[in-house]
C-alpha cells in the first residue's frame, strides 16, 4: 500500500470531536456501521459470503484441494487462509506481491478461526498419511473504507459455515457433505482515535488514528486471537473496557452468521 499522507488537519479534527465524545460520521463510540451479510452468492466457490460494513465490501470464498497430511499429523486435513487486497479496493492499494498489511490481515483472521478449533481437522482425513482435504479460505476486498479485519473475519466464518465438501466433483461419493464447522469465532476491532478507543473505525478514522487492537472470541466468550497493530501505547483499563464491549458485540455477530440466509 502506498503510504498515505496523514492529514494533520484530519487528526486534529478527530481529536477535537473526541473531546466531546463524538465521531466524524455521528456514530457513538461503540456503535458499528450498518453491517450486511450474504452467503452463497458465488457459484464456483464451495462456500462464499459477502460482507458490507458501511462502504467497506469484502468477499470470502472457500475452495478445497487434496493434500498429503503433514508427517506429524497423518490423520488431519489442513486449513489455509489468505487475504488479498487488490488495487480495485482503493486508490492507495497497489498491484504487486502481497503487502505486509494484507499478510497481517490474513494471518490474524486465520489464527482466530484455527485456534477456536471450529473446523474438525480429523474429519478431513481421507486416507491416513496419504490424502486429506485442505480447506482454503480466500478473503478478497473490493472496497476498503476501514476495518477490513472485522469484515474479513465475518465473511470468512460465514463462508466456511456454508461450505460443502465437493465429494461428487472429486469422485469420492454420490453427494457433497457440509464442511463440519462446530463453532463461530467472531472478531471485534478497536482503533484509538483522538486518544480513546472506538469500535469499527472507518477509513478516515484509520488514517487519522493511532494503534488498533483486534480480539477474536469463540462461542463461550473465550479469547482465540489478539493482535495489537501500529504505533501506540495502551493501558490495562483501556483493554478491559474494549474487552467488555467485544464480549457483547461478538455475540451479536455470531447471531448474524447463524441467521444468514442463502442468496436466491
Amino acid at each position: 500500500m502506498a503510504i498515505p499522507i496523514v492529514p494533520q488537519l484530519l487528526r486534529a479534527h478527530l481529536a477535537e470531536l473526541a473531546e466531546n465524545d463524538e465521531r466524524h460520521d455521528g456514530r457513538a463510540r461503540w456503535e458499528s456501521r450498518d453491517t450486511e451479510l450474504e452467503i452463497g452468492i458465488l457459484r464456483n466457490a464451495e462456500g462464499s459470503a459477502k460482507v458490507r460494513m458501511g462502504d467497506t465490501i469484502v468477499y470470502a470464498g472457500v475452495k478445497f484441494q487434496i493434500m498429503t497430511p503433514y508427517p506429524d499429523r497423518p490423520n488431519q486435513g489442513g486449513l489455509m487462509c489468505t487475504a488479498e487486497i487488490r488495487p480495485v479496493a482503493g486508490r492507495n492499494w497497489e498491484p504487486g506481491p502481497p503487502s505486509p498489511e494484507s499478510i497481517e490481515l490474513g494471518r490474524v483472521v486465520d489464527r482466530g478461526i484455527r485456534e477456536s478449533g471450529c473446523i474438525d481437522v480429523d474429519n478431513l482425513c481421507i486416507i491416513p498419511g496419504e490424502k486429506a482435504w485442505q480447506v482454503i479460505l480466500d478473503l478478497f476486498a473490493i472496497s476498503d473504507d476501514g476495518n477490513l479485519f472485522d469484515a474479513f473475519a465475518l465473511a470468512g466464518i460465514a463462508a466456511l459455515k456454508s461450505a460443502m465438501l465437493p465429494e461428487v466433483r472429486f469422485e469420492m461419493s454420490d453427494s457433497d457433505r457440509p464442511l463440519p464447522v462446530s463453532k463461530i469465532p467472531t472478531m471485534c476491532s478497536y482503533h484509538k482515535v483522538g486518544g480513546r478507543f472506538v469500535y469499527d473505525a472507518d477509513g478516515r478514522e484509520e488514517l487519522g488514528g493511532d494503534e488498533r487492537i483486534h480480539i477474536t472470541l469463540g462461542d463461550d466468550g473465550h479469547v482465540h486471537s489478539l493482535q495489537k497493530g501500529l504505533k501506540g501505547i495502551f493501558t490495562e483499563s483501556e483493554f478491559s473496557e474494549i474487552m467488555e464491549h467485544a464480549q457483547s458485540r461478538c455475540k451479536e455477530l455470531r447471531e448474524m452468521v447463524l441467521n444468514a440466509e442463502e442468496a436466491g
Binding site: Y59, Q65, R86, P87, I142, D145
Partner: protein
Amino acid sequence: MGGYGDVQMIDENGVRVDGRGPGDLRPVSIETGVIPVADGSARVIWGTNHAVAAVYGPMECHPRKIQRQDRAVLDVRYNMAPFSTPDRMRPGFNRRSREISKVTADALESVVLLEMYPRCKIRVEIEILCAEAGTRCVGLTAASVALAHAGIPMTDMVVSVASGKINGVVVCDLNKEEDNYGEADLPMGILPNSGELVFLQLDGDLSPAEFQEAWDYNMEAAMVVHQIMVDALKGGDA
C-alpha cells in the same frame, strides 16, 4: 478448442445444453456504484459470470516514467479471484491475465478521450469473482460502464460479446461447456453507436460463411447488452 467434437451440446431442434436457442444471450444484469470508494464502478452478472470493475482517476501519474506529456495513460488490470473457478486459481498475475489486461487496455484506449488529461493516469481494475466462459467480454463490458459511471469522456462505450461454433452450429454467447468443447470462439468489442470494432480475437475453425454468421450474432447481441448498460447508468446507483 480441439478434439472434443463428439460431445453433443446442441440437439436437432437447436436447443443448447442450458436450454437456449442458437441466437440467445445468457441473462445479463448490470449495476453501477457497487464499489463506493471508487470514482466509478460497475457489476456485471452475465449467466453465472460475476465481474466488478472500478475506475480511479484521472489522478497523478505514478511512476513518473510512464507519464505522457500529451495524454493520460490508461492502467488496466484484469484479474480472477482465487475462488472464481472450479479449481482454485493461484493469486497473482499469469500470462493469460496479462494478455487480457493488454487487449482490454487497447480496446478502451480507442474510445477514452485520453488527450483531455495530459500527464494523468486513469486506473481501471477488473475483478472476476465467478467465471463461466467469456470473462474477458464481461470484464471489458463492466470496465466500459465503470468508466462512464466515473464520468470519463469517451466516444462510445465498448460492448463485448463472444459467439462461436458447437457441433458445427454457429451460436451466440458461449457458456462454459460450449467454450471448452466447442470448435470456435470469436470475442468482439463493438462500438454500438457506429458498429465499429475495437477488440477482436478468434480461436478455432470457422468457414467464411460461419464467420459472418458469428459476426452478425455478436453485432445483434451487442445492441441488446448496450441497452442494459445504458439503463443501468440512467437508473442510478445500487
